[in-house]
Each structure stands twice: as C-alpha cells, then as structure tokens.
C-alpha cells in the first residue's frame, strides 16, 4: 500500500523537489530509506540484545535475585505505561496513514498525541525512578536499601501475613521476606497469591543454583538480608529501562521534528518517507517496552 504510492517513473521524478540527485526515481529513494531503517532497527535490537542476554544469564543462574528485586517495582505504574505506549503506537500508525493520504490536520493531531504519549511515559518513569532513588534501590555500591530502617515496627507482626508489594506508598515490608527456597526453579507455575503466601514462610535461600556463582563482598550485604546481590537486579533494571528511556527521548525528538515539518506542510501522499520511518522507529521503541514490562515487573 505505502510502497505503491511513490512513483517510479523517471519523467515524473524530475518534478519532485524531494528527490535527491543520486536516485533515479522516488520509489527507489523510498525503498532505500525503508531498507536502511529496517537495518538500523536490527542494530537497535542487537544493542538491546546484549542487555537481554545479561538478563537471561543472570536470571538463569540467580532467579532469587529477580524474585526479590521485582517486588520493589510498581506493577500498576508499569501497566499504565504499557498502555500509554501502545496507544501512542496506535496514534503513530494513524499518523502514517494520514500522511499517505495527505490528511494534514489529522496527521498533526496524531503526531501531537504520540508526542504526548511519550511525555506521559517518561513522566511516569520519572516517578518510578524517584521512588527507587529515595529507597536506595540502586545498582551496585549505590544500593543502600535497608528494610530494617524502613519497616522496623511492623516487621514482626507481618511475618506470615500476605504481602502487599503492589502499592508503593507503603513501605514494602513484605518484600523483605525471604525469597522462596524453590528459587532454583523460577516459580511461574504458582499462582501469584499462593506465591505470596509461600514466600513469607520460607527460610533463607541458598546463594544460587548453579553456574558462575560469586560470593558477594562485605559491602553489598546492605540489601535484602536473605537474598544476596539484589543490587544486580537493579543494575539490570536501570540499564534496560534507562537505555529504553533514552530511546523514548530520541523518538520524541524525532516526532517533534516531524510535527514541525507537518505543520509546515511538508508531507503529502507524494512524500511521506520521514513520517513512515519515524513511525517504524517509534514502534520498535514500543515493542522493546512490551518485552521489558513482563521481564522486569511480572516475574514469579
């Protein structure tokens, strides 16, 4: 559909102000741009691929770190963000559709909405980050989270009670409960509620099931008492969401540029390559989040 729009007749091409000198036809130019973008997206996937690989290796070797860590994440905010991004992808796709049919007004509206979606996503992300910062849920040596300080009073009463890890306004006392002893096998088989029940009954988890097990150093003991190296979860969390956040920002910059050009009236059914390519990029950013959300927030 989109591919059929740019013309491939060289005669017509002479009239197109958008045709670069080294292309013979607008179609050739459009196809080149599209292939280039797809290849670029492949490099982006591999860039994230490295981090996903780190994730996979750590999760396989030390599932307990992930179980313990993910309780500190706010599932509700994560879910809202997922919806926001998916909606923004929808508006972006609609924008491309409008550009291809020279529907100027709706192109501008769609781009503006998409930009708004990006802004919303980043704001929510900011709230989440600030919360982690306050609690000291940070990677590596910056990990200063201390449940004893945060939840001293109700620690004893809460033992055995169902946890409330979802609401972050509460001090996440429950998450200080030991991770399941079944840590060796990631416990997705268990229903969420049962897992919570289970968790509070469990004693100390062993350091890790297999693989390249390393003993933590003295100074990283400050975290969760029972699970060692929870800071690694936050290292991975911040690297993944941070890199993704940077991509959202880059995407927003691109959309702003597209918006300005759309307002100037640059795009029409004869020339919409930038909108199309910008859209592809935005969908990729969206897609990566769709993987990040379950991998980080919905474990166990």
């Amino acid at each position: 559909m989109a591919e059929a729009v740019p013309t491939d007749s060289p005669e017509h091409a002479k009239h197109s102000p958008h045709l670069a000198h080294h292309f013979d036809t607008p179609l050739q130019q459009f196809d080149s741009g599209k292939l280039g973008m797809w290849l670029f997206l492949a490099t982006e996937i591999l860039l994230f691929g490295g981090l996903f690989c780190v994730y996979a290796i750590w999760r396989a070797n030390h599932p307990e770190i992930f179980i313990a860590g993910h309780h500190h994440l706010d599932k509700t905010l994560g879910a809202i963000n997922t919806v926001v991004l998916i909606l923004s992808s929808f508006t972006m796709a609609t924008g491309v559709y409008c550009a291809q049919r020279s529907i100027q007004k709706w192109l501008i509206i769609c781009l503006a909405l998409t930009l708004l979606g990006g802004l919303g996503f980043m704001s929510i992300k900011f709230v989440e980050y600030r919360h982690k910062w306050h609690e000291g849920l940070l990677p590596g040596t910056s990990y200063t989270y201390d449940p004893k300080v945060l939840a001293k009073e109700n620690l004893h009463e809460n033992v055995g009670a169902p946890a409330e890890p979802e609401t972050h306004a509460e001090p996440p006392a429950a998450s200080t409960a030991p991770a399941p002893a079944t840590a060796a096998a990631p416990p997705p088989e268990q229903p969420a509620a049962a897992a919570d029940e289970e968790r509070s009954k469990i004693a100390l988890a062993p350091a890790g099931p297999a693989g390249l097990r390393m003993e933590p150093a003295e100074d990283s003991e400050s975290g969760d008492e029972t699970v060692k190296n929870v800071h690694i979860f936050f290292a991975i969390y911040f690297c993944l969401t941070g890199l993704h956040g940077l991509h959202v920002l880059a995407g927003m910059a691109i959309i702003t540029w597209l918006l300005l050009r759309a307002i100037r009236g640059d795009f029409s059914h004869e020339y919409f390559t930038p909108v199309d390519l910008g859209g592809l990029y935005w969908h990729l950013v969206d897609l990566i989040w769709i993987f990040l959300f379950p991998l980080l927030y919905l474990i166990g």
């Binding site: 670069a20 000198h21 080294h22 292309f23 050739q28 196809d31 080149s32 292939l35 280039g36 290849l39 670029f40 492949a42 490099t43 982006e44 591999l46 860039l47 994230f48 691929g49 490295g50 981090l51 690989c53 780190v54 290796i57 990677p139 590596g140 040596t141 910056s142 390249l212 390393m214 003993e215 933590p216 150093a217 990283s220 060692k228 190296n229 800071h231 690694i232 290292a235 991975i236 911040f238 690297c239 890199l243």
Partner: protein, 572 residues
C-alpha cells in the same frame, strides 16, 4: 590538486573538453567544499587521510614497543609506559585503522562507481560516519592525555573496571570504541542499501565485482555484530563509573561474561577486517593475471559463508577461561569450519593465476605477499583452534604472530588496493620501481618480525610481557630472537616509509594517469581518472566485470582502451 595537462586540451577532444576537464577534485574548491561534501569519493579520500595518519601513529607506538624489547631489561621505558604503549598500538590499529581501512576508505571511493551509481544511498550519513570516526579518534587522544590506558585492546575486566591507580583513560577509550562502532555500523548499512538499491538496473547480483560481495558480507557483520560491542562498552563505562557490579567478581558480577560479549563482536570483527581485503584480492589477482576470475560464485558465496560462520566461533578465545569442555569442543569444530571458505578463496586465486599472463606491478606484489601471509596466518589459526594445542599456546607470542599474520595481512591488501586505485583516485601514476621496492622491503621486514614470534611463542614466552631477562636462562636464544624481531620491525618501517614517499612523490611529480592503466574491466576503469563529480560522463555499459576481451593496450595513452565489443551483463 590535479590539473589537466596542456597537451590534453590541444587534442581532438574539444567537444567533450568542457565535461572532461572537470572531475570530483576540481568540481569545487576550498576547505568547506571538502568538510561539507557529500560526494562519496571525497569522503573516501578524507577517510584515507585520517586512517593513514592513525596508521602512522600506531606504527610509532609499535616501533617503541619493539624497541623496548630489543634488549633484555629496561631499554627505553618503564613497565607502566610499556603497557600503555602496546595498548594504544592495538586499540588504534584495530578500531581506527583496520576495521574502517578497506571499506571506509577504498570502498567508499570505488563501490558506488563499480555499481554504476552516482553516490551511496545515504550521502549525509556517509559524511556523518566520517565525523564519528573523527570523534572516536579525538576520544582516543583524550584517553592518551588523561593518563592513558593499559588494559590491552581487549579491555578485559577487571583491568578495565578496577585498577590500583586510577587510569582515567579507560572511559574516553571506551567512548571512542562506542562512537567508532557507530561509524562502522553506518558505513556498513549505507553500503548494504547501496548494493541492494543503487546497482544499475541491468546489473544482476553475479555481475557485481567480487569486491562488492566482500563489502556486502562485511556490511552484514558490521550491522549485526557492532551493536554488541557498543552495549558492552556502555556497560563497562557504567560499571566503572557507578560500580554496578555486572562484570566485577567482588560484587557478584562475572568477568567471563565480559569476555563472551567482547569476543561475540571481536571475532566477527576480524572478518570485518579481512573480508573486504579478500574482495580487493579477487580484483587485483584477476586483473594482473589478465584472466577471468576462477570460481566466481565460490568466492562470492564463501564471503557470505565466512560472514555467517564468523558469528559462531567466538568461544575459541575462551578455551582456557573456564568454558565447559563440551562447549569448547563445539567452538573448536566450528573454528575449523571457518577455515574452509577461507581456503576456497585462496585456491580460487591460485587457479585464477594458473596460466594467466601475470604482470608484477606493485598491487600484484602486495597481493602475492598476502597469499603467503594469509596462508600462514590462517593455518596457524587452525593450530590455535585445536584444543590441546591452544592450552600451551594461548596468550603466548604464538597468538601475537598468528593475528599479525592475518590482521597485518589485511594491511598488505589495503596498501595494495591503494596502489591499485591510486591512479583512479588522484589521476597520477606512481613510480613503479619505488612501489615495488617498498613492497618487497615491507614484506621481508614483516616476516622477520612476526615469523620470529611464532618461535618465541612456541618456546613459551607469554605475550604482553615487559621484559624477558629472567627467561634468558630458561629459554635458550630468546634474546637473539627478540632482537631479530625488533630489527625486522625497523626494516618494515623503512619499507613503509619508502612506500609513503613513492605515493606522495606521485602526487606532485606523477605522470598523468590514463583511464585504465591496468586493464581492469569493472566500471571504475570505464570512467575518467579521476572520475567526474557524478562518476560517469556517459551512461556506463554493464558487462562481465572479469571479461577483459574488449580491452587493448594503447601505447600512446599508456593504458588500456575498450574496443567496444563486450559480453553483456547476465542480469542475474
């Protein structure tokens, strides 16, 4: 730079003179016309200047390192400086010279012309790649100024993550790798799209010169492998700055994971270096044998096979890093498999030369040197891929010799290709005698330096050692071997300097180059030397790039001219 000879204008070509006299060098003037150019030829030239400068600098580091090893004990520098010098030598050579060398400098210049295109698909991104390369070079200079870098070019943790004294140079160096990586990705992406979309419509895949296939396979590796080194570098920077613990054992992290990440890129990267060089080889061998290339499709597909298999062998760098036996065996087997497509190429080059009418101009001398050098480099790679043999040889001078035989073999082809296309790029002919002499001295010095290191390694000397005084009693003859190797490096330097002067001299004094000095059949030889701004004054005729039957030597011009009868392109 180059102006047209007076004799030219007085010839019988007045009608075409207006277009003929203007080439890409004279089309516009001034610094800005270069800095903001989007012409792939000018960008190629700028890359060339940058890369040769970096090569010179890295060469100085190498000479300093070899001078330190000339005699046992302290010769000219202390151990810490030594560590920094070999690191800078390696980092500059790998990331600034060899990886971009053939594709970005030579490829940029000739690839679009070979395809009959006016430019690469994304000229602006092409310029951006060049500036990213410059950015990387600047970061490396920062690293040098900020206290240096002593991790070796491999940046292994924990050298790179924690070190006793703060070496601030690590972070800028990693940024350099990241930025140069992007430059490399964009170059590869640009070329792949150009090859797909900007070929002349009548040119089928198998009507492309094999150099283009080499660049295509390289582009795929650049696109698929480089992002991984990008993220690895970023993680290492974060690790160092924020102590996040992913690669640091004392914090629960895993240094071997870094090695996997690093080699997942860096083994394919060795094919980024050598595949385009192999492409140049196919051009030179065929043209100077004046004979159709033998086994076109085998060479073309072996490039793709190498690109593919190259991704599956990185574990051969971790045989002694605690990798499980089974995994090591698999990696070892796959490593052997890579040698097959490499050997296919070598045999095809030999078969091309068989019964050809070989002429020994400078590019051919470089090409023949490469067959010798790559033969040794590739075969010793098989030694190292053999598990039992690698255990004692790992991290010895044997490995140093192996990878110099392959990587610096690439340098031979790079220089050979430079001589080959020099008349096209500059419009000048160099002095054949000096070119040949330089090549021969380089070749002799090269083997003196590195063949010796095979022996040093076999006798058990580890690599990256500052000194071998204590080894003198244990390893008989080691002092003499090291001295011989160092002297070889000086011989090499003499050869390279001669080569440099030969090329420089030609710029000022060289005779005007004919359009087709060697009798090449691909499209870059069917336009003027140097080419006009949009590469062709008239529509090029696509044909078999290795069919030389229409070319005849013209004594007056001092080059070949086409008689016009050509086998048409197959279009497949």
């Amino acid at each position: 730079m180059s102006t047209v000879d007076a004799s030219d204008a007085s010839g019988g070509v007045q009608a075409a003179a207006a277009t003929d006299t203007s080439n890409y060098l004279t089309a516009s003037r001034g610094i800005a016309s270069w800095m903001f150019t989007r012409d792939h030829k000018r960008i190629g030239i700028m890359y060339l200047v940058g890369i040769l400068t970096a090569f010179f600098l890295a060469g100085i580091f190498a000479l300093l390192v070899r001078t330190e090893l000339l005699t046992a004990g302290r010769t000219i520098m202390d151990a810490d400086t030594y560590n920094k010098f070999f690191t800078f030598h390696g980092v500059i050579m790998v990331f600034l010279v060899i990886i971009p060398g053939v594709p970005a400098a030579l490829g940029n210049f000739v690839l679009p012309i070979m395809l009959g295109a006016k430019d690469v698909a994304f000229p602006r991104i092409n310029l951006l790649s060049f500036y990213l390369w410059c950015g990387g070079a600047i970061f490396l200079l920062c690293s040098l100024v900020m206290g240096g870098l002593d991790t070796g070019w491999t940046f292994y943790a924990p050298y790179s993550t924690i070190s006793k004294e703060p070496i601030y140079g690590v972070i800028p160096a990693l940024l350099a790798v990241f930025v140069v990586g992007f430059s490399s990705i964009f170059t590869g992406l640009n070329f792949v799209v150009t090859i797909h979309k900007l070929r002349r419509p009548e040119m089928g895949w198998f009507d492309m010169p094999l150099f283009v296939f080499g660049i295509y396979a390289t582009g795929i590796i650049q696109i698929l492998a480089t992002p991984v080194i990008g993220i690895t570098g970023l993680l290492l920077i974060i690790e160092r700055v924020a102590k996040i613990g992913i690669f640091t054992a004392s914090m629960g992290g895993d240094p071997v994971l870094f090695q996997h990440f690093f080699w997942f890129y860096s083994h394919p990267a060795v094919y980024i270096m050598i595949l385009p060089a192999m492409g140049v080889m196919s051009e030179i061998i065929s043209v100077f044998s004046h004979k159709h290339i033998f086994g076109y499709k085998f060479i073309a597909f072996s490039s793709l096979a190498i690109a593919l298999l190259g991704f599956l062998v990185w574990g051969h760098h971790l045989f002694v890093a605690g990798q499980s036996g089974l995994v090591s065996m698999i990696f070892s087997a796959l490593t052997f498999a890579v040698a097959i497509p490499s050997a296919i190429k070598v045999f095809n080059w030999l078969a091309t030369m068989y019964k050809g009418s070989i002429t020994l101009e400078t590019p051919m001398i470089y090409a023949l040197s490469f067959i010798w050098i790559f033969g040794i480099g590739g075969l010793t790679g098989l030694f190292l891929g053999t598990l039992a043999v690698d255990v004692p040889l790992h991290d010895t001078y044997f490995v140093v010799a192996h990878f110099h035989y392959v990587m610096a073999g690439t340098i031979f082809v790079f220089i050979g290709g430079l001589f080959y296309w020099w008349p096209k790029m500059t419009g000048k002919m160099y002095k054949e005698l000096w070119g040949r002499l330089g090549a021969l001295i380089f070749f002799v010095g090269y083997n003196m330096t590195f063949f010796t290191q095979f022996i040093i390694g076999l006798k058990g000397m580890p690599r990256r050692y500052y000194d071998y005084e204590k080894l003198i009693d244990v390893i008989p003859g080691i002092a003499g071997l090291h001295m011989f190797s160092s002297i070889g490096s000086y011989v090499m330097a003499v050869g390279l300097l001669m080569t440099g002067f030969c090329l420089l001299q030609s710029l000022f004094r060289g005779r005007k180059a004919p359009d087709n000095p060697w009798g090449g059949a691909s499209l870059e030889w069917r336009t003027t030397s140097p080419p006009p701004l949009e590469n062709f004054n008239e529509e090029p005729h696509v044909g078999d790039p290795y069919d030389f039957s229409d070319l005849e030597w013209d004594k007056e011009i001092g080059g070949y001219v086409s008689t016009g009868i050509r086998k048409p392109a197959t279009g497949h």
